[in-house]
């Protein structure tokens, strides 16, 4: 773990920026949870409540032209990479105006304009996509890097191992981010994967770091250091973030399989509460914080309204997008 920089060295504006971004993810998901319960969001949704410090800490170390491949639990990755909030809600609510025309929903939010290559419904599948994206950056020499976000459960997929190997051999500019929340659906991951992602990376000669994934400042610092090395052409890096999944695997999961103790302790790990205590120690006026909360609330209310006002997607337009409109050969 890289030595955490003193919180005091972080400019106030940065703290509030992180706060705002994490809050955006949290409140967006809280609202999605409600919309789901009310039947306004169909399908499956996987919330990252409790994990906001990871997406915000890492993406704040990336540039807009950097690319990111995500997994099924990708709302935070999408929003913090810059997917516009209204089109995000419109998508998850299944509307034509959604970022993906309502065809993908929660598990497939993507926005090429901000380098978000998509949430992914196949565990592990985003990882080689990010490797390929890093290959593109390397070949095009555009200075950008790729990031792959995946959970601890994905460590058991062979394609992860293949991707580590390929990235290391080709010295690709890629940051592998493992969000280790200890669970893989309804099973504790230690019953599913007997190794450790950092040791595994080490076998391929990939340097790695490890942070408390509840601390956005630590995540950001660690990610920044790794990104600097990656951008300098030193090849891939792995960042393991230990974090906590607060909600069920998907909405509707009652989590009966988790011990009461564990459930009770979750609030101690809340990354937003952690940052709030830093903010309050720095004596940042309460009303500035309150203003942020209000701003976020307003944005989300507006996004939900936009989502409700969206139109049902047009079937023919959807079908027309199976292939690219024909050009001459």
């Amino acid at each position: 773990m890289s030595p955490a920089k003193s919180d005091n060295s972080v400019p106030k504006s940065r703290l509030l920026e992180f706060y705002e971004q994490m809050l955006l993810v949290r409140e967006a998901e809280n609202r999605l949870s409600k919309l789901f319960a009310d039947g306004e969001v169909p399908g499956f949704i996987h919330l990252s409540v409790g994990q906001e410090a990871v997406c915000v800490g890492v993406t704040s170390a990336l540039k807009r032209e950097d690319t990111l491949a995500s997994n099924h639990r990708g709302h935070g990755h999408a929003l913090s990479k810059g997917v516009e909030l209204n089109s995000f809600f419109l998508e998850i609510m299944g509307k034509e105006e959604g970022i993906c025309g309502g065809r993908g929903g929660s598990m497939h939010v993507a926005d090429m304009s901000v380098g978000m290559l998509g949430a992914n419904g196949i565990v592990g599948a985003g990882i080689p996509l990010a490797v390929g994206s890093a290959l593109a950056h390397q070949v095009r020499e555009n200075g950008a890097i790729a990031a792959a976000f995946f959970g601890d459960g994905a460590l058991a997929e062979g394609v992860l191992h293949e991707s580590f190997n390929l990235a290391a051999l080709w010295k690709l500019p890629i940051l592998f981010v493992c969000e280790n929340n200890g669970w893989s659906e309804f099973s504790p991951t230690d019953r599913q994967f007997g190794a450790n992602v950092r040791e595994l990376a080490g076998v391929f000669g990939i340097p790695s770091d490890y942070v408390d994934g509840d601390d956005v400042l630590d995540v950001h610092d660690a990610a920044s250091d790794l990104v600097t090395a990656i951008r300098a052409g030193e090849g891939p890096r792995v960042l393991e973030c230990v974090t906590h999944r607060v909600r069920g695997h998907f909405e509707g999961d009652s989590q009966k399989y988790r011990a009461e103790d564990e459930m009770n302790s979750l609030s101690n790990h809340d990354p937003i509460a952690k940052l709030e205590s830093v903010i309050s120690k720095r004596r940042i006026p309460k009303k500035e914080v309150a203003a942020i909360r209000e701003k976020i609330d307003a944005k989300i209310n507006a996004a939900v309204e936009a989502g409700r006002a969206g139109n049902a997607p047009d079937f023919d337009r959807a079908q027309a997008d199976v292939y690219t409109a024909v050009r001459g050969v």
């Binding site: 399908g43 598990m107 997929e157 309804f186 399989y257 997607p313």
Partner: protein, 324 residues
């Protein structure tokens, strides 16, 4: 006769098999402690212990490969792939190993395994959690593919599948898990490869399998009120499939519609049409019509998905065409 949910009927077949035969084992992601993502394997760990009922890591290629190796070494493994879309990661084990072992080793061994997996839409699960990929397996010599349409068949076909010496892909439609149906616990397993006339009729035959059989029955009901008498043939198994039964029905009705939830193009229906328009050429009074999903990935949005999935109206339209 009791009413049983589809998922429970599957569970009962697994339970029976585990009870009857110590070489039957069950594994897959979250099938043991959690009782399966759809609750289908609930209670089996408690009853049969963690030697025989196992949770696996998220390693589809290895677990299906392990099922093949175990089947070659004296067990009858039942492995679950959580969504049929994920078989894309496990095709080698099924196609290059399980399907070919008996043939390429000169008949030395069989590979008595069952891969259970849910296909189908209707739950807004989107493009990567809704596919019906059974046509891939039906094209592969050495595999059998079974797709039940109701709880009783699910139970009776699964029992036959577990008892079968060859590798079987057993496809459950996920939208059906909570649907109820009549089930007689004393019923026998159903012979794999035999179709069933789910409704007798004279004017037109609808051939289908899996959940779509129910769509066919709905369409038949509605058409009955218009004095159109529809015969519905439930294939039950698409590899092998019962061409005699389909031909027999066609020879009575002279008109055929083939229905499935999978994408029409290059789907299972194509084979049925190709075969019937050959061996049934002289029986056909009209071209055979296919009803299936259009050529696009399964969309997420409710409005899109409901237009995407073939429904009774689509079937009725096809029946009208073949009767025109």
């Amino acid at each position: 006769m009791a009413e049983v949910r589809f998922g429970k009927a599957v569970n009962m077949a697994l339970d029976d098999a585990l009870a009857a035969d110590p070489t039957v084992i069950l594994f897959g992601e979250d099938v043991a402690e959690a009782g399966g993502p759809f609750g289908v394997t609930r209670g089996l760990l408690e009853k049969y212990g963690d030697r025989r009922v196992r949770d696996t890591p998220i390693s589809e290629a290895a677990i299906v490969g392990a099922a093949v190796g175990a089947a070659m070494s004296g067990l009858k493994p039942i492995v679950e792939i959580m969504f049929m879309d994920f078989v894309a990661i496990a095709m080698d084990a099924m196609v290059n190993q399980a399907a070919k072992a008996r043939f390429m080793f000169g008949g030395q061994c069989s590979v008595p395994m069952v891969l259970r997996t849910p296909h189908g839409g209707g739950v807004n699960a989107g493009p990567q959690h809704s596919q019906c990929l059974e046509a891939w397996f039906a094209h592969i010599p050495g595999l059998k593919v079974v797709v039940p349409s109701n709880p009783s068949d699910a139970n009776r076909l699964l029992r036959a599948a577990i008892a079968d010496p060859d590798p079987i892909v057993f496809v459950e439609n996920k939208a059906m898990y909570s649907l109820k149906g009549e089930f007689d616990e004393s019923s026998e397993p159903i012979e794999i490869g035999k179709a069933y006339v789910a409704r007798a009729g004279n004017d037109v035959t609808i051939v289908s399998y899996g959940a779509a059989v129910n769509t066919a029955l709905q369409a038949a009901d509605k058409l009955a009120s218009r004095n159109i008498s529809v015969e519905v043939v439930d294939l039950r198994s698409i590899q092998p499939w019962d061409e005699e039964a389909v031909l027999a029905s066609l020879s009575r009705t002279h008109r055929l519609v083939v229905l499935h939830e999978a994408v029409t193009a290059f789907g299972v229906g194509a084979e049925i049409v190709a075969r019937m328009s050959d061996i049934g050429f002289d029986e056909l009074d009209a071209p055979i019509k296919r009803v299936g999903a259009p050529f696009m990935p399964t969309p997420f949005a409710k409005s899109l998905e409901s237009q995407y999935l073939p429904n009774a109206e689509d079937v009725i339209a096809a029946v009208e065409q073949v009767l025109a």
